[in-house]
Amino acid sequence: MANDPPLPHPDLLAAIPRLRRYARVLTGEASRADDLVQETLARAWEKRRLWAAGTDLRAWLFTIMHNVFVNQRALSRRDAQNVSLDGEDGGAAWQIPVRPTQQTRVELMEVLREVGRLPVDQRAVLMLAAVEEMRYEEIATALSIPVGTVMSRLSRARDKLRRATQAVPGETPASLKIIK
């Protein structure tokens, strides 16, 4: 058949929860995150010829998502003054609801909040390395940056998060307020 080979659908469907999670951390907003995932899937079908069958579909989808995200940001901020992706703009759009549940520890809410305060580039690297557990080389490919940059962003992100996650012996986190 002259048709392009289809993408393996079960893999595509199975990748969605992780794509949504990453998108939500990138955009800081659930509905924008789903728009980003939808656009990523559409782009994946358009570019399916570029996917080498048998290679990691998920890593490829993360690469596409990154490109879509960067393009969307560039468009939406074309007129803004501070376009730098490295800017300290992390927390601005962060609208991830932190829902206190029975099990939710103050600590977890603090972690989410701190992730939201990171510049988006550090957030991306942290997510892919610490949460998605991708290899550093894969992350470098997905984000089109050198491995050295992956390492320095990861290091900076983790240093900032340390404040929120560090175990302080003999000190309870009672001073933190739970906001319902």
Binding site: H9, P10, P17, R20, L41, L108, L126, E133, M151
Partner: protein
């Protein structure tokens, strides 16, 4: 001053399990010598664990329908556009028939007859999977006879995929009635007596969504359509496992088709 040239990147790689295994002993020796470094590594590990604890629950959220739809190949749309100038009139007719068909489905559904493939697959699965003694007509030891019989009745070559990799052994199979077409059912069972079924029938008319995951009355159904057939995998297992099994079945059927389609030169 440390005797080993450990840098920050090595520490991160170690924490993420990405350090070359030959270098791991170096790092571990350094950790034993240097309590400050050991604390730092423990903090980073804890940080990773907290991130997972905070973010992993998101993975279990239901997937919105629009995203499930976006996983289907967009081919239909492209072909349709290409044909539009020539078949505008035919399109109107088809749309009319389609609407009529939908109305018919709705009527049947209200009369208590399950009409969507997913729904029917789920109900059929429950009907037979819950039968302890006679879930199938022909048992696994006679798999070849089963496959021949079902292939003849369906008018196409069917295979029973091998799900042993997931701990599911073939129990057997049977022919079941579809709304319009006979359907082949293969039943599988794992060590916990949990049952799964794969139902196969000839491809229904064009226009159905090619791939879907649905939950019907507590039964997860993953179904998809290829050039010839419609498949539905049903069982009371979670989505992640269902998709993993779906991936295996899909792969095995694609391989079988590729084998069958190879030019007999």
């Amino acid at each position: 001053m440390s005797a080993l040239p450990l840098d920050d990147a090595d520490i991160h790689a170690y924490v993420d399990g990405r350090l070359a295994s030959a270098r791991v002993p170096e790092v571990e020796a350094a950790l034993a010598r240097d309590p400050a470094l050991a604390t730092r590594v423990a903090d980073l590990r804890r940080q990773n664990a907290l991130l997972h604890e905070a973010l992993d629950p998101w993975l279990d959220e239901p997937i919105p329908e629009r995203l499930v739809a976006a996983t289907a190949p967009p081919e239909t749309k492209g072909r349709w556009r290409a044909l539009t100038p020539y078949f505008a009139a035919a399109a109107t007719l088809v749309l009319g028939l389609g609407a009529g068909w939908l109305a018919r489905d709705l009527t049947l559904e209200q009369a208590g007859t399950p009409t969507t493939f997913a729904r029917q697959a789920a109900m059929t699965h429950v009907l037979y999977a819950s039968d302890p003694n006679r879930p199938v007509e022909i048992w696994a030891p006679e798999e070849q006879r089963l496959v021949r019989w079902l292939s003849r009745r369906l008018g196409l070559n069917v295979h029973a995929p091998d799900l042993n990799g997931f701990g599911y052994a073939l129990v057997g199979g049977r022919l079941v009635a579809g709304n319009e077409r006979p359907t082949a059912l293969f039943m599988y069972e794992n060590a916990d007596k949990q049952r799964l079924s794969l139902q196969v029938r000839k491809r229904p008319g064009a226009g159905e969504t090619a791939f879907r995951y649905a939950v019907e009355d507590g039964v997860g159904v993953y179904y998809w359509i290829d050039d010839n057939c419609a498949y539905a995998l049903s069982g009371q297992i979670d989505r992640a496992q269902m998709l993993a099994i779906g991936r295996l079945v899909y792969g095995q059927l694609a391989a079988a088709d590729a084998g069958a389609a190879a030019p007999p030169k």
